[in-house]
Assembly symmetry: C2
Homo-oligomer: 359 residues x 2
């Protein structure tokens, strides 16, 4: 039986060895924890800063057993962990946070939007479809143009396409692989915002200031935070974060992507049950950043303060932009965060820069 | 031939696997570097956050060869690395920073004070001795009470004793092991300060705000920074740091312990050619902390800004004080840094807390 809070010297297991796992591992180390990374690829960014590395597929029973043996608590750097893997870890007696419900909701866009609406959190209108015919009907119901997304496994703009006319719905459905989809009404948003928030094992909530986010081709390029926003917007964001965290009986940090639409209304675009790219600014802009906050939450520590201490412009370094590190390293106002990825690929997230802007 | 600046993805070798090596490794990882730790003990705090670990004595030729092979540049977490080890690394073609001269000066209190005075940096009066007779003569020359210190291998108050009367000098000399010593005049200081500073490969200097330090039994308990000080004191500290860094043709971060004596004069007590316990406040108090600064310097990156952004009270957690972590974790103004040491021992540095005090 695990007792909370976990004392320093305990081991935090992390499913996933990318940059989020790496930054979680660095935060855990600062608090005196050891880290164990499970990740299918050798020499992953996170494994290189962790005490223990298990190289195995996410659904490999031996790998999962080893991770469970090493770890006092296990968390994830991404939401597309096979549900069966988390199930298996639980059967092995492991503590996993966030829980199966959060993963189930975040892995299925239909379950996600249904959960949100049922908990009083507004989204765009949507309809589900699992055949070319029902896809057409869904678009007819929602109205074109509409965004068709696979229910599962999309991120950074993958697994989604615009449907310009109801007549084209069947074709888009087939182009997405003929898998179950969700059809979403176009959000005529003024801007994209996000709120990063945390819930502790004691149910305590901590909510970070809003970030204003700029995407290109579905990938985050830039966040500005704290975002300027009217009090009514801030109130909505806090209420939304609280409803989601409480509704999921969540433990850890969550990222909630928001649309601000005409009339000062926030709609939730999607939720990510993990630390989030739009929360990287907190590393240099907030009292306790999202990575330490997540470790505190899953380890049963009291949550830390989320207040902003600086305004930040966060820039993602994608692909060859990472080669511009000398320029950022020379800027007094820039804090450089690089992920240790061995290979530059077009569009790959290689690092980010937090440019400080006073407050 | 190494070219500077070292690109991310390069490997930083570190001699020493304690908390300073660990915090250097975490800073290096943030900038996208890999780290290799050479340290005689298995499972060291730094090795657990490093990509490569070499478990070997500091003078083991095989271990040194392996470290040299793994690393693009090598640095130290402490100054008592055998000079022969650094020599060996250089013969193997390794880049080592700071250089042999800085280590030679810092390893020998006589060489240190001689270097300081020759470079126009004031210290207390001192005299060398290598026998019971010359020890007595040295105390007679300096005047009792005087502080007798072994020339080599002292830290945290070890290897030093007070001589109350010249007649007791021979006994103290023998108690210290009969090794070469230095006899220092008592510094009637008003307070103890320190200045942390850095020099880049391009010769650029960056100097942190002063810290005011409180010791007990020779061990640092508490630093307050930025220390309140008259402009004349700040000027002296900057001049001292610049003279030392330039005089040693230094690359990296250095810690300089200072006495402020009556009349607003600063004397140098000792220099540590490495990141320093009295600089831990910079992690949460300064633009770029001493650990990232040291990595930037040895990697040939431009140095970062050293300005204070918050006032900090840094508390060392010694021995069982580390068990008080839940209290500090619950304080909104406290940032907890724990070192991952497996065993609590009386007086052992287990972690520190940076308590933020506004600015």
């Amino acid at each position: 039986m695990t007792t909370w809070p976990l004392p320093p010297g305990s081991t935090i297991g992390i499913l996933g060895g990318g940059q989020l796992g790496r930054m979680l591992a660095l935060a855990a180390a600062r608090l005196g924890f050891d880290v164990a990374i499970l990740e299918p690829e050798r020499d992953s960014p996170a494994a290189r800063v962790a005490a223990h590395s298990v190289v195995a597929a996410y659904d490999d029973p031996k790998g999962l057993a080893k991770l469970a043996r090493l770890s006092d608590v296990i968390t994830c750097e991404f939401e597309n962990v096979p549900a069966a893997a988390v199930e298996r870890l639980r059967e092995l007696g492991a503590e996993v946070a966030p829980g199966a419900r959060a993963l189930a909701v975040a892995q299925d866009r239909l379950a996600e939007k249904t959960f949100l609406n049922e908990n009083g959190v507004p989204t765009v209108a949507f309809a589900a479809a699992d055949s070319a015919e029902s896809a057409e009907a869904a678009v007819a119901q929602i109205g074109a143009p509409a965004l068709m997304k696979t229910r599962r496994e999309g991120y950074d703009g993958k697994g989604q396409r615009w449907v310009e006319h109801a007549a084209g719905a069947a074709e888009v459905f087939r182009a997405l692989g003929g898998v179950p989809v969700i059809v979403e009404a176009q959000a005529n948003f003024v801007r994209e915002l996000s709120v990063i928030a945390a819930r502790g094992r004691d149910g305590a909530l901590r909510i970070y200031p809003l970030a204003e986010n700029h995407h290109a081709a579905g990938v985050l390029r830039r966040s500005l935070a704290p975002a300027r926003a009217a009090p009514a917007i801030l109130d909505q964001a806090e209420r939304i974060a609280a409803q989601i965290l409480t509704g999921l009986d969540y433990v850890g940090v969550i990222g909630v992507e928001l649309f601000e639409v005409e009339g000062g209304i926030l709609l939730v675009n999607e939720i990510a049950p993990r630390v989030h790219n739009t929360g990287h600014w907190t590393q240099d802009g907030c009292e306790v950043d999202q990575f330490e906050q997540h470790i505190r939450a899953v380890a049963g520590w009291p949550l830390g303060p989320t207040d902003a201490i600086r305004a930040v412009e966060m820039l993602n370094l994608l692909g060859e932009e990472a080669l511009e590190w000398p320029r950022y390293a020379a800027e007094p106002e820039s804090r450089v965060h690089l992920y240790g990825k061995r290979q530059i690929k077009p569009g790959r997230k290689m690092g980010h820069v937090n440019r400080l802007r006073g407050l």
